[in-house]
């Protein structure tokens, strides 16, 4: 019989705590960045209004180096390309990203030691799914940061990571243990890892869809001559480019989710003798798949792009959260391995 290493399990929990603390500090700096940057821009614009700054400065300050946002009609937003540009240094954002890197490294160590302690992949119960999922969210965010300036979404994403870690340690805490026979299959590695990765991508697009909704209502309000109530949204690109990027990420995540569904069906056949049986978890995985399929179709349907598509992306993510929390804990079914 394999025995688990409880001592290493305790070390993993310590790492997890340290990572959570680092994430919280990173979150504080991300929020600080939003507040500070929007205040700086606000001050520049106030001076502009007073006629103290020449016209060219408006382009620099308002658009943060982006050409498109300098168009006189639209409200101030970040550059559509989401590339790092020559805008003013955002020292808080830099600290926040550095802290996120540190937190992710500690977090990675926590997940790794958990896996070594259990002698298997670290996603055998809800605690492990949640902590590993949060790590993947954070990793994907950092990887995307190397290519695109998505720091505007940092407070949102790292906020979600902190929530996931809190939920795991407070709500789903489970000491490290062996797997029950039903989970002893290599499909655990395949099926669950892709589910984790897809859920992590959906987490990112959820954050972007929420920002898209805020940005598009802000754009509409300003276009109608109203006041700019959400000044921090200047750091965020226009709604349309948010929509395009989240569509690309959702497309990848949707393929992953389809794979999760198929791999799950193959595993279900090996374990329970049928590939599909409308178990509660299967129902919700199907519902999520259908909602995101609807999202992809909505992008090609007149009148459904933009805000409505964003809502579908948000509803899809809420279904994922529901599937993971409520369905796992309160619904009886074959997938009751939460360990809670």
């Amino acid at each position: 019989m394999k025995s688990v290493n409880t001592e290493l399990g305790a070390t993993s929990e310590l790492f997890m705590l340290l990572a959570s603390i680092a994430y919280v500090v990173a979150l504080i700096f991300f929020v600080l960045d939003l507040v500070k940057s929007s205040r700086t821009i606000g001050a520049v614009e106030a001076r502009l209004a007073a006629g103290q700054v020449p016209a060219q400065a408006k382009v620099l300050a308002g658009a943060r180096g982006g050409a498109s946002a300098a168009a006189p009609a639209g409200p101030a937003t970040a550059d559509t390309s989401m590339d790092y540009s020559a805008g003013p240094r955002r020292s808080s954002a830099r600290i926040a990203v550095a802290l996120t890197v540190v937190a992710t490294v500690i977090h990675g160590a926590a997940v790794l030691t958990r896996g070594i302690a259990a002698g298997r992949v670290p996603w055998g119960n809800m605690y492990e799914f949640c902590t590993t999922g949060a790590l993947v969210v954070s990793l994907i965010f950092l990887i995307t940061l190397t290519r695109k300036d998505l720091r505007f979404v940092g407070s949102f994403v790292i906020g979600l990571v902190v929530i996931m870690l809190c939920a795991a340690t407070v709500g789903f805490a489970t000491p490290v243990a062996n797997l029950i026979p039903a989970l002893q299959s290599y499909w655990l590695i395949v099926h669950v890892s892709i589910a984790v990765a897809s859920s992590a991508l959906f987490t990112l697009t959820f954050a972007m869809s929420v920002l898209q909704l805020i940005q598009s209502s802000r754009e509409a309000r300003i276009a109608a001559g109203g006041p700019d109530k959400a000044g921090f949204m200047r750091l965020v690109p226009p709604a349309l480019s948010l929509e395009n990027l989240s569509y690309r990420l959702n497309a990848i995540a949707f393929v992953g989710w389809t794979f999760t569904l198929i791999a799950g069906a193959i595993w279900a056949e090996a374990a329970w003798g049928r590939y599909w049986g409308w178990d509660t978890k299967e129902v919700w995985t199907f519902v999520i798949w259908t909602v995101y399929a609807g999202y992809l179709h909505a992008r090609a349907t007149k009148g459904w792009t933009g805000t409505r598509a964003a809502w579908l992306s948000i509803v899809g993510y809420l279904c994922i959260v529901f599937n993971f929390t409520i369905v796992n804990i309160y619904f009886s079914g074959l997938h009751s391995y939460s360990g809670v």
């Binding site: 019989m1 498109s68 000491p175 497309a251 590939y275 129902v283 199907f286 609807g294």
Partner: protein
């Protein structure tokens, strides 16, 4: 809802409210509506919503007993919910009609697209737009006069070069005006994007058909096998059997399975997960038919045994105490293992024993089996370990009419005490029956006795036959491949046009256009430019004098499709 009603008119009569359209007109209108993207999207989202109730209410397909209990517990709302088929959601009329409409809509959408695609694959790439500079990605190059004459590059040869290079890159190419002043090449690639889309949607139909075929010709059954017992694959051999619609008895091959031993392993190293199962292994002896060689096989969770066209799955296990019940006349009324139902992880198991042959009165027992019995401070017995270190039966006994003689089917795991008199129980004066291994208890009033002779384990197996399972897998994998192709392949068009300046320079311009959204189009443009540049600048010794001047800055922000030529790309 509109589309549902209109779809129904197809088979019956034209809608009286729409006389102007006429019968065929109405049909055409209904078909157009049903196959529109808007309705497809609506049906898709409706399907998601319709699937939800199946997770909120117990389903007969999963566990009919839970539905029966639910109906008993909710005598008012239960029948109403039942009328709306909320206990059979996935076979209900409304759920079926949604997905059938969705699939009709899908077929109606995919078929014309497939025809159009077949045509597009055979068609030549579209004509070169007059003003390439209006393409979302556009660039120019020039080959200096010295280099052009030295390497004998003419506008026509340059176009031929470009065509060869684009072809190598996976484009289908077509050279236009090869002999004219401004020859050009039109190229197109990424046809597998649309092909993938069509494969994905067609494969979904394949999955649905596979599921239907499985329902027609498949079957499944459940059987409990106690250690030492043999199951023979015949209809009477099963405890429960669900045949497919087209099932016939001769589909069952008469193989047999004997459970030689069942080994379990529980986790005791860990305080937090004490008693959690680590391994279940059933050792079987199987025979493919009455005369076949016996074979030793191992059955585990996640590792089914394939035999006689079926798969046998290990889905449950428990204890079967071996008992002997003697009646008031001293005759053996029941003897053998009694299957008990575990109710927790420590195998505290429900036991029901019925002795319909007991005389003068029938006897019934109900209670618990505890593998490792302990008594807490309140005097309540409980199990402390899933393994049988101190096996014990705790029973109440009854005498009277078991209600089995009327021929009505009764659940073997439930004792109906309505027509029974309690002989003893934990609450009565003479206490309940507590039996250790090998012990005998004499019932009050000389009604008989019960002996706990021994202990065996049993396994519960599911036996499935689904001839369409492989089809479902193949179509699912095809769907995944098609989906990836349709989402990640870019459908692009590229044009390269050349001309000769009077001073001898050869001027080259190129433009690229994507069908639909394609964020990687600028990268493709850069790659094409690099190809052309490196091809015409192949001799490094002449690089100094032959300066190529790529003017590759893509015309950012230019809206695609302002040209009449490519207007159809933006439909």
């Amino acid at each position: 809802m509109v589309n549902k009603d209109t779809a129904r008119t197809k088979g019956t009569q034209p809608d009286a409210a729409l006389p102007a359209l006429g019968f065929t007109g109405t049909l055409r209108w209904a078909w157009k509506q049903l196959t529109s993207m808007r309705i497809a999207l609506f049906l898709l989202l409706l399907l998601a919503v319709a699937a939800v109730p199946g997770s909120l209410f117990p389903q007969r397909s999963a566990n009919p007993a839970v539905v029966t209990t639910y109906l008993q517990d909710h005598p008012d709302s239960g029948p109403i919910l039942d009328w709306f088929q909320l206990f059979d959601v996935y076979s209900s009329v409304w759920f079926s009609s949604i997905y059938l409409l969705l699939f009709i809509s899908l077929i109606g959408c995919v078929t014309p697209r497939a025809i159009a695609h077949a045509r597009a694959v055979r068609a030549k790439p579209p004509a070169t737009p007059r003003r390439l500079s209006r393409m979302p990605v556009y660039g120019t190059l020039e080959i200096p006069a010295a280099r052009a004459s030295g390497a004998a590059i003419t506008p026509a040869s340059a176009v031929a070069d470009a065509a060869a290079l684009l072809k190598k890159r996976g484009y289908r190419v077509d050279v236009r005006d090869a002999d004219g002043d401004r020859p050009s090449v039109a190229a197109e690639r990424g046809f597998s994007k649309e092909l993938g889309n069509l494969v994905f949607h067609s494969s979904l139909i394949g999955v649905l058909v596979s599921v239907a075929v499985g329902g027609l010709f498949g079957y499944n059954g459940q059987k409990v096998i106690v250690e030492g017992d043999t199951f023979v694959n015949t209809l009477v051999g099963y405890d429960a059997f669900t045949p497919g619609t087209n099932f016939s008895d001769d589909q069952l091959e008469p193989y047999s399975i004997r459970l030689d031993a069942f080994d379990v392993q529980f986790d005791r190293a860990q305080e937090s997960h004490y008693g959690q199962p680590l391994d279940f292994t059933a050792s079987l002896t199987t025979q493919d038919g009455p005369d076949a060689e016996p074979k030793k096989q191992t059955l585990k969770v996640n590792a089914p045994v394939d035999i006689g066209g079926t798969s046998v799955y290990l889905v449950g296990n428990g204890y079967a105490p071996v008992i002997t019940v003697r009646d008031g006349e001293g005759n053996i009324a029941v003897q053998g293992p009694v299957v008990t139902i575990p109710s927790d992880g420590l195998y505290t198991s429900l036991a029901v024993i019925k002795a319909p042959d007991a005389r003068p009165e029938q006897l019934g027992f109900v209670g618990f089996f505890l593998p490792t019995a302990f008594v807490d401070e309140k005097g309540v017995s409980f199990s402390r370990d899933p393994d049988p270190f101190n096996p014990q039966l705790n029973l109440n006994s009854y005498a009277g009419d078991l209600g089995l003689d009327g021929g009505e089917p009764k659940n073997v795991y439930v004792l109906d005490t309505d027509n029974l008199t309690e002989l003893n129980s934990r609450n009565s004066d003479n206490g309940g029956i507590v039996l250790g291994l090998g012990e005998t208890y004499d019932l009050p009033e000389g009604k008989g006795s019960i002996t706990f002779d021994g202990l065996k384990r049993y396994i519960a197996v599911d036996i499935h036959h689904d001839p369409a399972q492989v089809g479902a897998l193949v179509f699912s994998v095809l769907a995944l491949a098609g989906l990836s192709a349709s989402l990640f392949i870019g459908r692009r068009r590229a044009w390269v046009r050349t001309g000769e300046h009077p001073d001898g320079r050869v001027l080259v311009e190129y433009g690229l256009l994507a069908r639909g959204e394609d964020p990687r189009l600028p990268a493709e443009g850069a790659a094409v430019e690099k190809l052309l540049t490196s091809h015409w600048l192949a001799h490094p010794d002449k690089a100094g004098e032959n300066q190529l001047q790529p003017a590759g800055a893509p015309a950012a922000g230019t809206g695609a499709g302002t040209d009449g030529d490519n207007g159809k790309d933006n439909e």
